[in-house]
Subunit: 280 residues, 2 copies
């Protein structure tokens, strides 16, 4: 049961905030949906945006400046939260683990394994909700994300090609098994066994992926991003895509950082990228 | 002395957050500036955006989605805070008075008269700073605002036509001397004498204004705005403009509310409105 918390007219369509009791996460969750004006004529293609560390559903919703273009293109945009929420949910003192840092995996380690099932939440529970309760056209869902959410978008695209038919990312963590943010999260959520980690590592997954039918992946990365060399390493994904035969457009932008000012500067290109595949 | 707190590449230009010690307000203040890419070729026209109750410099900056169009038009945008700030500054328990609610007047009543001089801050101190320290072209400054900031934009435009050459507003408080928000603020900041209040009331000011040379004022108002009938009353300003001979384009939008989703839906029209006058 979706509970509508807010609804705002926006660019001829509507921005709606929903809350629901999540079975996958054992807590109440919020997400936002932009419904373009074209839904009055029937179901529309949709894109899910997965946010980065510390974010909720709200960051993309208020800061990305995406809805003018989405209204033009007739795209639905769904922005979920980044972790389970609520006072029952365990947390960590640091910003890069626990709440706000679900990393889009299903945790197997205590105490995280009771709530931190963001992979199932996104790909199963929320996926079913948006197709059942919202005017999302069957077989027309793309996925994109930023930073940790870029990792989520890439890995869930590779793991669930029957659900997500197109992918793009801003400043994604492409090799989480190799960088501090990812290693910390995977160790905490999945345990010490690194063979479990690479099942959630975009650079590893693309090498196993059937790239023949896969559309080009669009990635934007700022060269002024403070996390570029330690956490993001887009060159690793460039090499992995080349090895795997995955078409990739990696755009490097002089001076741009890791913020939503960067995302808002290029979001329209991502929406166009998704609309081209999803409307085909 | 401006201290740069943040700088982000944004739509080919830059979004900068400055802090400075304000003499007018007796405290440190922050404001944001969007610098379009065209400043590399020289000074540019600018628009100041005055925000509404509870806001800081940050709300417009992160939520309005204004900078893509500003970059296209070559417009600088300055977004100040809405009141003095800091632990020395007196406050009120309610959202509509004290901090976040400066109402763009110079308070004469204790304890507010030590800090609450937003009229002087905007029209004198900040006005001089942006012309001295930033690439703002002389004689090419417009003013716009939302709600309490719409009141600020209209009244400061009417009081300082030599400084602000164009004006627009979203959901402005047009008759503060007649509505609860304005009466509470004016009583607190200016005292019981209502002859002082009407010197800060857009409906009263436009009747005294030299409208012959004044460009058309653009106002957007949502018809789903919860404050429409009690606090905003755009019909009063429509009548006042008609009486005064002031050209007004008042657009009423079915379903839109008082939020930044509304502002972001129509901000590009306001920037175009300002660019047309400021670039002439």
């Amino acid at each position: 049961m979706l509970k509508k918390l807010e609804e705002h007219a926006c660019h001829g369509g509507a921005l709606v905030i929903y809350e629901h009791a999540s079975e996958a996460l054992n807590c109440d969750m919020k997400f936002s949906v932009f419904l373009p004006p074209q839904i009055t004529d029937g179901k529309r293609p949709a894109v899910m945006f997965l946010a980065g560390l510390t974010c909720t559903h709200d960051n993309f919703t208020t800061k990305a400046g995406a809805y003018k273009k989405a209204a033009e293109l007739g795209l639905i945009i769904i922005a979920p939260d980044t972790s389970p929420r609520g006072s029952d949910v365990p947390d960590d003192d640091n910003y890069d683990f626990g709440k706000g840092a679900g990393f889009y995996v299903n945790a197997t380690q205590k105490p995280w394994n009771k709530h931190f099932h963001m992979e199932s939440y996104i790909t199963d529970e929320l996926y079913n909700i948006i197709h059942r309760e919202l005017p999302v056209r069957e077989g027309r869902l793309g996925i994109m994300g930023h930073s940790m959410g870029g990792h989520g978008a890439l890995t869930l695209y590779f793991k669930y090609p029957e659900k997500f038919v197109n992918c793009s990312a801003f400043s994604p963590i492409v090799a989480p098994a190799e960088v501090p943010w990812g290693r910390k999260a995977f160790k905490g959520y999945l345990g010490e066994d690194k063979t479990k980690w690479i099942k959630h590592d975009a650079c590893a997954l693309v090498r196993e992926f059937d790239t023949i039918e896969s559309p080009m992946i669009l990635i934007d990365q700022g060269l002024g991003d403070q996390f570029l060399t330690e956490q993001l390493k887009p060159e690793l994904f460039e090499t992995a895509c080349k090895d795997a035969g995955q078409a990739l457009k990696l755009r490097l932008h002089e001076g741009y950082d890791h913020s939503y000012y960067f995302i808002s500067s290029f979001i329209e290109d991502h929406l166009t990228h998704h609309a081209e595949v999803l409307s085909a």
